[in-house]
Amino acid sequence: MMTNPGNRITQGQFSFLPELTDAQITAQIKWALKHGWAVSVEYTDDPHPRNTYWEMFGMPMFDLKDPAGILLEINSCRKSFPNHYIRVMAFNSTRGGESPAMSFLVNRPKAEPGFTLVRQETEGRQMRYTVHSYATDKPESERY
């Protein structure tokens, strides 16, 4: 895509910004903890924007007071999956809310091949469009 050199995927918060440093991640997590949200770390190698099934890295961390513990998990996830997408989620468990309140990427593969536009011709010369990630042509865990 012309507007997105390097094909960086843009999902969640801050994804149009340069990579967050650890200090910036810590500050964001501190914000989440201040609101009493449970923070968890997730990873995937399927970058499709509608892929909601990311793998959990360990359990969601409830009752934490300080971001250091979460940064520890992020770093051990980066070590296990250096070439995957890793995101940090903050879950708001208040009744009526019960949904993610924050979600941002903290790790991405070194090379992101990006997406292709797939055209499908249907009845009466109608066109259907969808996106398809080049990476997902390969089987899982060989994608990046």
């Binding site: 360990g58 359990m59 961390m61 009752d63 934490l64 007071k65 300080d66 971001p67 250091a68 513990g69 979460i70 520890l72 998990e73």
Partner: protein, 302 residues
């Protein structure tokens, strides 16, 4: 830095003021009776951290001191109370970020099957980060009679965290003196990683009396003059009995006195009751204790 800069005065007083630590130390003095060695050590630690901060300001770097501690003392000597304060003090001094206290025992750290201990211990460590991890009766972690006990695994993970996350975590171990000594003998790695071994002495009967008054005042009660005399007699009697747990025994005795006071007011309810009546513990409320008659405390089997 010019040579003269070495002689430029640094403002210790202002730094002390800014940290508000003086306030916490004074509160400690006011609310904790006795415990001389403990208070001295806390003052020393506070001074060290303050000086370190000053040194940092003038560009003298040094490694952050390790502040892992061991509190050894008999039951009821205020180990948990001091640990709670420790979090606050260290926060004011900027040594920890949050200053909360996570209290755990063996059950919270050690798992029940293979592979259960490590994640459990790590989760607790994560919870305690930025604050103080208080491990009560730490010697139960190590059971020499069972070599397959998972406690050893928890100790190893703790040691690792104490070493690698010195900036994030302060670990305080607590327990009875003799058992703590044995624990450290069999875990030399633990001993060497703990810089501060603080001993909690038993209270004298005068100190216990002062503690009793402080406890009552905290609950908006007070002794009548006679009751105070009776309680002063009660303390040495109770101290001689088995299962004496210092301040904790005093608290239990006061709770029972409150019970009797309520009963007394209830029994004589035809009389008008004033606010003073509601606040005052009379001599008869104290003297009714079985310690005086039978020589063992209420609530325990003879």
């Amino acid at each position: 830095m010019s040579p003269n800069a070495h002689d430029a005065p640094v403002d210790l007083e202002a730094e002390l003021e800014a940290s508000e630590v003086q306030e916490v130390l004074e509160k400690l003095d006011r609310e904790l009776i006795g415990l001389k060695p403990v208070k001295t050590r806390i003052r020393e630690i506070a001074a060290l951290l303050l000086v370190d901060r000053l040194r940092e300001k003038v560009g003298l770097t040094s490694e952050t001191p390790t502040l892992h501690m061991c509190f050894a003392g008999n039951p009821g000597t205020g180990k948990t109370t001091v640990a709670m304060r420790m979090g606050e003090i260290l926060k004011r001094l900027g040594y920890v970020r949050e200053g909360h206290l996570v209290t755990v025992t063996r059950d919270d750290l050690v798992g029940q099957y293979i592979g259960h201990t490590a994640p459990k211990t790590r989760e607790i460590i994560k919870k305690a980060m930025g604050g103080v991890l208080f491990i009560d009766e730490a010697y139960y972690l190590y059971k020499p009679e069972n070599e397959r006990d998972y406690g050893q695994e928890a100790i190893e993970i703790l040691l690792q965290a104490m070493e690698n996350h010195r900036d994030d975590l302060v670990v305080i171990l607590a327990g009875y003196k003799d058992r703590m000594d044995r624990f450290f003998q069999s875990n030399p790695g633990m001993r060497s990683r703990i810089a501060h071994h603080v001993e909690f002495p038993d209270y004298s009967s005068d100190e216990l009396m002062a503690i009793a008054k402080l406890m009552l005042a905290g609950q908006n009660y007070r002794f009548s003059a006679d009751a105070e005399k009776a309680f002063a007699e009660y303390i040495p009697l109770r101290m001689r009995l088995a299962q004496f747990a210092n301040a904790r025994s005093i608290r239990n005795a006061l709770d029972r006195a409150r019970l009797r006071q309520a009963n007394r007011l209830f029994a004589g309810r035809r009389k008008a009751i004033t606010k003073t009546d509601l606040m005052t513990i009379e001599a008869e409320d104290v003297l009714a204790s079985r310690v005086f008659r039978e020589g063992h405390p209420d609530g325990t089997p003879p």
